[in-house]
Symmetry: C2
Subunit: 260 residues, 2 copies
């Protein structure tokens, strides 16, 4: 990503036009020349985005890989012979230890690498990008700082620099526990929505954000090496409370869940 070029001359290749790839394409197309590759492109390609071959996408100054973590290593292997020296490659997976290892292992030593985790999705971006958090993990080369400056300037993002391990340690609690709680609530029958406290309304908003997460996010979160430990520490506290209060009995077919 050469910042001696004017921004609109900088080319961005997006590999993977799923939910997050499209979101990124929409927001970046006004600022950069955007080529996107996806073997199964969406019905509606975001305005200003040109669909391209994987080779063309890999020839851009900046290449963002926006595929599920489970596909990352495979996609990197396909991209490896197509990338040019000095290209900056970035991923957007929800956990960083495994994603970083895959990129380091599969991509050639002459490309620069930054792992990233946008801590937001289609739901939280509705109110605009200003103040949303994005984690950058510089892996190889010295261009993370310039990327951070570009994202701060044009989108007002709050950029957090961390190692992949630091990211995963924190995200295991912040993202992992939020997902765990949200999934448990979503698996229950419909929750009441009339007689609610303000704190429940906030909890419900959090659950609704998780509900709209792209498929694959949960699997990525589960790949976090600290996920099981964070979950276990939280569940141990719930078990302790359960022991103190008594768990009560939920009878099958009980009619207290659905309210008029």
């Amino acid at each position: 990503m050469e910042f001696c070029k004017s921004a609109s001359q900088v080319s961005l290749g997006i590999v993977g036009l799923g939910a997050f790839g499209q979101l990124m394409a929409e927001h970046l197309a006004p600022h950069l020349t955007v080529l996107a590759h996806d073997p199964r492109p969406p019905e509606i390609v975001p305005a200003g985005v040109t669909m391209a071959s994987l080779r063309e996408a890999c020839r851009c100054d900046l290449v963002v890989i926006a595929v599920p973590l489970a596909a990352l290593a495979h996609v990197c292997r396909e991209m490896a012979p197509l990338l040019m020296p000095g290209t900056l490659v970035v991923d957007v997976c929800s956990t960083k230890v495994e994603a970083s290892a895959a990129m380091r292992a599969e991509l050639p030593p002459y490309v620069d690498l930054v792992a990233s985790h946008p801590m937001f999705g289609p739901q939280s971006i509705l109110a605009g990008t200003r103040g949303l958090k994005l984690v950058l993990c510089p892996l190889r080369g010295r261009r993370a700082g310039r990327l951070a400056a570009f994202l701060r300037k044009h989108f007002g993002l709050k950029i957090l620099i961390a190692t992949p391990d630091e990211h995963d340690r924190e995200a295991a609690f912040t993202q992992g526990l939020t997902h765990l709680i949200a999934h448990a609530l979503l698996r229950m029958d419909e929750l009441p929505g009339r007689i609610t406290t303000r704190s429940f309304d906030l909890l419900k908003q959090a659950v609704d954000m998780v509900r709209h997460d792209a498929p694959g996010v949960r699997q990525a979160i589960e790949s976090n090496p600290y996920a099981a430990q964070a979950r276990s520490l939280f569940l141990a506290q719930l078990d302790a409370i359960r022991g103190e209060l008594g768990a009560g009995s939920a009878r099958p077919g009980m009619q207290i869940m659905r309210l008029p």
Copy 2:
């Protein structure tokens, strides 16, 4: 509460000047003549509020009992011989089945009764009262409608009319589960706060509201006849997820919790 009087002529007796009693006194003193009784009054009495004997507080047009649920029946017994025919008596406990039963049993048949649950506390009221929810359960007499109109007009509250049983069925989920989750998170060591998703930030806000709840609120929530069932249904889903994912192992003394 005679609405043929101008509002400032209507007298309000508050029995119990704890956290919620004070909050109420501050907000109602500009609109009504407020007498308050508490055997252990706070160091700073809210402006416009006159401290009074229990007898004087009970002679007001409207008497609000703002004591913990555990003390409600006892306080009602003390008030019973002091109340005048036609007085409107209201409580503010967090669950309504047990509180309503106590008021019905202990207060004389010639006073009107409305059970209430303000679904907010000192934290959520900081941004103003408009749109905050308050549940009214009309128990005896016909003045719940006028009380609702007064609270809507002067504070913009959203008034929900429900039976005590309807209230407790919903609150077991909305308030009960929020408290359960919040208490489990609060019992963990300090949670990370830097690398956070928007949904975790919302969850954290909810937890912080619960953290500031008055003592006694948790005990009141536990008196909800549906609390154990709601908890059990939620924990059953967590157990199912634990089974699917594996609980992981939390080793004592593990160093992943406290982050720099």
